[in-house]
Amino acid sequence: MSFAARAGSIHGVVGENGAGKSTLMSILYGYYQPDRGTILLEDEPVRIGDSAQAIKLGIGMVHQHFVLVEDFTVLQNIMLGLEGGFRLAPALAAARRRLAALEAAYGLAVDLDAVVGTLPVGLRQRVEILKALYRGARILILDEPTAVLTPAETEQLFAILRRLQAEGKTIFLITHKLREIMEVTDRVTVLRRGSVAADLATSATSEAELAEFMIGRKPAARAAATPARPGPVRLAATGLVVVDRSGIRRLDGVDLTLRAGEITGIAGVAGNGQSELLAALAGLVPAEGSLRRDGREVPHSGRARALRRSGLAHIPEDRQRMGLIAGFAAWESAILGHQREPRYARRGFLRIGCAVAETLARMAEYEIRPRDPRLRSAAFSGGNQQKLIAARETAPAPEVLLAGQPTRGVDIGAIELIHARLRALRDGGTAILLVSSELDEILALSDRILVMAGGRITGSFEREGASERGIGLMMAGLAAGSA
C-alpha cells in the first residue's frame, strides 16, 4: 500500500476492524518493522526502529488507551522520562515554562498541577497531546481519539486539531466515524483488508461513498422501525440509590421499568450515573431501593448471580477490564458469565469442545478476525473483542439485556450486525436497556428514551417525539420535563 500526507494537513485514516489501520500507524511509530517498502519523511527515506526514534523524528502518538500515571500530576506525567538531571525542581520549573507557552500557542488549557487520575477523559487526552508536543512532535497520530469523548469534548478536540494544523503540524486521525472524517480532515485514506481502497480529498467525497469503500459494498439500508409491542415488565427498579466510596450519590433515586419487546435507551453525558445504573441493575454494586425481576423482589445477597440465572445478559461498558480476560483464550472469554450453563458445563466439567465450536461459529457470524478460538483474548483488536462480547451476551436470546456502549469502537459492518441483533432480540421479546454515548445510536434503536443527569432520570421521550436537539438540551441540563 502507499499513500502520502501533506505537511500541515489533517489526514484521516478509516477502515473496518482488522483493515490494517493500527498496523500501519504502529509501523509509523516504530512498534513494527515493515517487511518491505519505505517511509519517506519530507522526501528523505527514514527507518523507524522504535518509538524513541519516532519521537526523535518528530512523530507523536496519542493512544486510544492513554498511557499516563494516574497518581502523578499533569506536569509530572508530561516530563516523565525527560527529567534530565539529578535534581527535579529546576527541570520541573523549566518544563512548566515551556508548557505554558505550548498551552497558549495551541489553546490546550490544562491545569498542570491537577492529578491525572482526577481528570475527565477529555482532559487526559489533552495531556497526551501536550506530551507529544512537548517532545517536539511535528506529526501527531491520534488513534480513535473520540471513542471515549462526549460530543462537546469531541468538538473541543477538533478545535484543537484545527489550531495545531494552522500552526503547521501534520495530523493523522484514525477513526471509524465517517462524520468526523468529513468534519475535520483534508484528505482521507480508506483501508480495506490491508490495502488502500481509496485515497481522496475529503471535499470530493461523501460519508456514503466512504462507507462503501470501507466495507466494499453499499451499507444495508436502516431497517424501518417496526412499532414495539411491549409485553410484561421484566425488570423493575424503584428508588435505586448508589453511593460511591467517597460518599457521593452516583444514582439518586432512579425508577425504571424494562418491558419485554422494548428497547429503553438512556441518553446522557458520560458520568451522570449511567454506568452505576447498569451496575446496579446487574446486581454488581450494592444499591438501595427495590429491584424486581418478573415481579419478584431480588434479594441483595447473591443478586448478581440470581439475576444471571434468571436470564439476564449484560454487555459491560468496560470491555477491557470487565468484558473479557486478556490472558484467557478467546473461547474462554466467550463463555464468561455463562460458564455454568448446561451448554458449557456438565457435572462440573467444562464442555471445551462445545465452547470452542460455538466460539468458532460466532467468529464466522460476526466476522471476528483472526478466526481462532484458541488465541489469547488480548490478541484481538478492540472492535473484535467487542463483537465477541456482544455475540456472547445476545445468543441465545436473553430475557433481559443490559447493553452498555454495545458498539463502542467497532466498525460500520459490525455496528449494523449488532444493531440488527438488538432489533431482532427486541422483536423476539427481550427487554433491552441501551446505554450509549452515541446519541445517534440511542435514536436509531430506542422505543423509549430516558435522559439522565446528575444520577437522576430527568426526562423521557417516546420514539416519535424524540429529537436530537431536544435530548441534547436536556442532557446538558438546559431543559427539563418530558415530551
Binding site: 464468561l336 481462532d372 490478541a379
Partner: protein
C-alpha cells in the same frame, strides 16, 4: 507481542532447558573458581541423581515432597495469591499423620493410609484456612500471615515433639516409631515410596480441577481479572479460600511421605525446607501441574546430585550446592524471560 503464544514445546521445553543450561554454565564457573573441575563435577551430580537405581530413588523421593510443595503454591497462585506457608502446613499435616499412625498399631498400611492421608490433607488445609480467611475477609496480606504461620507451626511442632508425643526415654525430639505394619511400600535401598504415586495423582487431579472444571475456570478468572470475575458473578472470595486450603492440603501430604513412607516416625524438622523449595518449583513449573512434576524432578535431582557432589568433592560443600540451587531458581524463575525474546524472534523469523 500480540499474536499466538509460542508453541508449547518452546514454552515448556526449549526455553526452560536454555534457562537450566545457563544456570549450569554459571554454576560451572563457580565450581571452577573453587578448584573443582566443572565438567566432571556436573557429571558426578548427574551420575548421583540418575546413574543408579538408588540415585533415581532418592531423586524421586525428594521430588515427591517438591510436587506436593509446588502444588501448595500453584493452586493459590491461580487465584492470584501467594501461599508461602507450605512449610508450616506440611508440619501440621505431619503431626496429624503421626497421631493417626500412633493410634492404629497393627493396622495394615493400606487400611491406615486413607485415614492418615485424610489427616494430612485436613491438617494442611486447616493451617491454611486462617490466613486464607484473614486475606479474603480482612485483607491481611497472605504472604505475611503464612510466613507467621510457619513460625507458629514450627513452635507448635517443637512443643508437641518435645513435651507431648516424644517417645519415653528418647532424647531426640521425635515420636516413637510406628508399627512396622504401617510402613508404606517402598523401594529397597532408597526412600522413594508409594507417596510418589499419590503426588503424581495429586498433580493430575490439580490439572483436571484447574483446567477442565467450571470451578477451575472461575478460579483462573478471579485470579487473572477480579473485575471480570465480579462482572461474571463469580464468588472470588470463596474460591480463593478453597484454593488456599487445597494448597495447604497438598502441603500436608508431605507428612505422609516423610512420616509414613520414610522415617516411620515423626522427626522434628522433617520438612527440611521442602515447603520453600515448592515456591521455586511452582515458579519454574509456571503453576502448571505437569510443569511442577518436571520441576520437582529437576530439584530432586539437584538435591540428590548435590549430596553426591559434596561427597566426591569436599570443597563443594553443602553451601555450594545451595548456591547452585539458587542459580537454577534465578535463571528459571526470576530471569525466565532471558531467552524468551531471542527464541521468539528466531521462531517468528523461521
Amino acid at each position: 507481542m500480540t499474536g499466538r503464544a509460542l508453541p508449547p514445546f518452546l514454552d515448556y521445553a526449549v526455553i526452560p532447558l536454555l534457562n537450566l543450561l545457563a544456570a549450569l554454565i554459571v554454576s560451572g564457573l563457580i565450581l571452577a573458581a573453587i578448584g573443582v573441575p566443572p565438567g566432571t563435577a556436573l557429571a558426578s551430580m548427574a551420575e548421583g541423581a540418575f546413574g543408579s537405581a538408588d540415585g533415581i530413588g532418592y531423586t524421586l523421593y525428594y521430588a515427591t515432597n517438591f510436587i506436593f510443595a509446588g502444588l501448595a503454591v500453584a493452586l493459590p497462585a491461580r487465584a492470584g495469591l501467594f501461599n508461602i506457608g507450605g512449610e508450616g502446613q506440611a508440619m501440621i499435616g505431619g503431626l496429624l499423620v503421626a497421631l493417626v499412625c500412633l493410634g492404629l498399631p497393627g493396622w495394615p498400611w493400606w487400611a491406615a493410609l486413607p485415614l492418615a492421608a485424610a489427616a494430612a490433607l485436613f491438617g494442611g488445609a486447616a493451617w491454611a484456612l486462617i490466613p486464607a480467611l484473614l486475606q479474603v475477609r480482612r485483607g491481611s496480606h497472605i504472604v505475611i500471615t503464612t510466613i507467621l504461620f510457619n513460625f507458629l507451626a514450627s513452635k507448635f511442632s517443637t512443643w508437641m515433639l518435645v513435651d507431648v508425643v516424644r517417645a519415653p526415654g528418647d532424647p531426640s525430639p521425635e515420636t516413637a516409631g510406628f508399627d512396622p505394619s504401617l510402613a508404606l511400600p517402598a523401594a529397597a535401598g532408597s526412600p522413594v515410596n508409594l507417596s510418589l504415586l499419590l503426588a503424581l495423582a495429586a498433580a493430575f487431579l490439580a490439572w483436571l480441577l484447574v483446567h477442565r472444571t467450571v470451578w477451575g475456570y472461575e478460579l483462573r478468572a478471579a485470579g487473572q481479572s477480579p473485575e471480570a470475575a465480579h462482572y461474571a458473578a463469580i464468588p472470588a472470595g470463596t474460591l480463593a479460600v478453597v484454593a488456599i486450603c487445597l494448597g495447604g492440603a497438598c502441603a500436608g501430604m508431605i507428612g505422609v511421605n516423610e512420616a509414613m513412607g520414610v522415617e516411620h516416625r515423626l522427626v522434628l524438622g522433617f520438612t527440611a525446607g521442602a515447603g520453600f523449595v515448592g515456591v521455586a518449583v511452582a515458579l519454574m513449573g509456571r503453576n502448571h501441574a505437569f510443569g511442577i512434576v518436571l520441576a520437582a524432578i529437576l530439584f530432586g535431582a539437584l538435591y540428590q546430585g548435590g549430596a553426591e557432589l559434596s561427597f566426591d568433592y569436599p570443597q563443594a560443600t553443602r553451601d555450594i550446592v545451595v548456591v547452585m540451587d539458587g542459580l537454577v531458581i534465578l535463571f528459571c524463575g526470576a530471569l525466565e524471560q532471558l531467552w524468551r525474546r531471542p527464541v521468539a524472534a528466531l521462531w517468528l523469523r523461521s
